[in-house]
Symmetry: C2
Amino acid sequence: MARLIAFDVMSGDLGIEAAIAAIKIALAENPQMQIIAVGDEKRLQAQLAGHDRVQIRHAEAVVSMAENPKQAVRRRNTSLYKTIELVADGHANVAVSAGNTGALMITAKVLLKMRPPYRRPAIAGQIPCVGCTDSFTMLDLGANVDRSPEMLVDFARMGSEFARVVKGSDSPRIALLNVGTENIKGGQDLLAAHQLLGETDLNYTGFIEANSLFDPATAAADLPQVVVCDGFVGNVFLKTIEGLSKMIKSMFGNAYQSTAYSRLAGLVSLPVLNGLRKTMDSRRYNGASFLGLRGLVVKAHGNSDSVGLACALAFAMRQIDDQQSLIG
Amino acid sequence: MARLIAFDVMSGDLGIEAAIAAIKIALAENPQMQIIAVGDEKRLQAQLAGHDRVQIRHAEAVVSMAENPKQAVRRRNTSLYKTIELVADGHANVAVSAGNTGALMITAKVLLKMRPPYRRPAIAGQIPCVGCTDSFTMLDLGANVDRSPEMLVDFARMGSEFARVVKGSDSPRIALLNVGTENIKGGQDLLAAHQLLGETDLNYTGFIEANSLFDPATAAADLPQVVVCDGFVGNVFLKTIEGLSKMIKSMFGNAYQSTAYSRLAGLVSLPVLNGLRKTMDSRRYNGASFLGLRGLVVKAHGNSDSVGLACALAFAMRQIDDQQSLIG
């Protein structure tokens, strides 16, 4: 089966050049991947004309990062709109974009429709951890900025489905992110969601605090496979991790530069540091899934470079196989 | 002037032994510090009887971490209650506890009263960063789990006052934590707070995202000195940093243990790693301030060890001088 990815090459912070480089990397690494590149036809033709697994679809306009999503969804000539339209019309299996998250969400909701019983899409990402074998699924990472107990229960259902088909867990452990594990913590919405989740058939294990997710002392069997929170909190969580990883990398650089001795230490440490760097490289975890829709949409990080975008394309291809059973 | 600290020795996760060790460290390092240790009289007598700068006040009960704050505040025989009472009655200049945050907040509010125009206390902490010279002030870190635009404006005022007297900034730059910097992001509460803050006389610089706070590329002049958010988001932010720092330390350990070569690299890197460790050591930043009250309360981290608690005691002593002008 061909895996056909509609790829919005215009909307990322680093522009069309990074996207074209990403296409070349991803096609070389994934023999079954086929891409419909959506954007500036002339530039795409000039650089991708030779590739037999690339089709080009022209889009004259671009959605900016600051554009109001409700206005963006009305402009049908943007690369973002046309990319999702290709999935809605059955011409592609999955849409990939590094663009405006709000515009992606509303456009996906309008063109692809929600899958009952879900009312609003959520963004799910894979967060690397130490205690769990690889990573856990976290949602919502920013599709919605408001919350209600019912939305949190929907996110738990979506996350459970996702972990079941994508990760192969029979009955994924689901936890609700809170500022304490006692039943008195959190606001009214969170306590109501806690109550509702206890009444579902989901494998709900209760509240968890953010620090426990990364604590090497937490046993793997106690770690949730799915962590649920509202989109505002999830997005702050994600950006805190990103910011801190970047800061620590920069501290490494500075520390090993400061004296001749430390420069030597840095040299000797290179293999160890490279191992750490690889584990902490957020590009490897690029690609978040919009859940709850009748079609597949993958959001790449806005400032992804070519390596990051190629990872998101590979992630999108795996989603085609994994999530087929969900979206039908 | 004597600096008299009322110290709840019973409520931390590591118990009275860590607290007693902390008292010895803190007194040795701070010649002007005087402590009223509040807790199990017998054990305190046995270990602190010789110290001329320690008074002992007996408390027979302890507030547990899981106890409902509204119930805890009614028990007047707890070490937590008696510690705050010493400040309310003018017997001590500041209260320090590593106990139940909710109980601390409600007890402080009842015994010390709010300082007009403030309605609810907020917890402010110092977050280390790269771009800023040292650290920025963030609040609320978990005193409140709900939010309103008016509360966020109150937090901004408290944070601005705090940074002015404690950090010596004339007109501290204040930012509101959001999931984007465009005016369309965030929920209704956040947008309303943004509007209100723009109308105050505060030096409000707009929205900021969590990753920008740690980005080495952000110029120091662009970094806020005070970051405002609701207590739920702030607490998740803080615990994410703590969890991630712990995970990275553990990764270091593992990486340098994995082969003979990497063990050698670890040995050569020791001075560099120790420098990094010190920068990342959350114990150095122990001690968060309850703001908006008519008296001083410092919250130490629940699982503080003796070094962490000693840092919180030293922090509390500095608060006496710094914040005197605020609480009058």
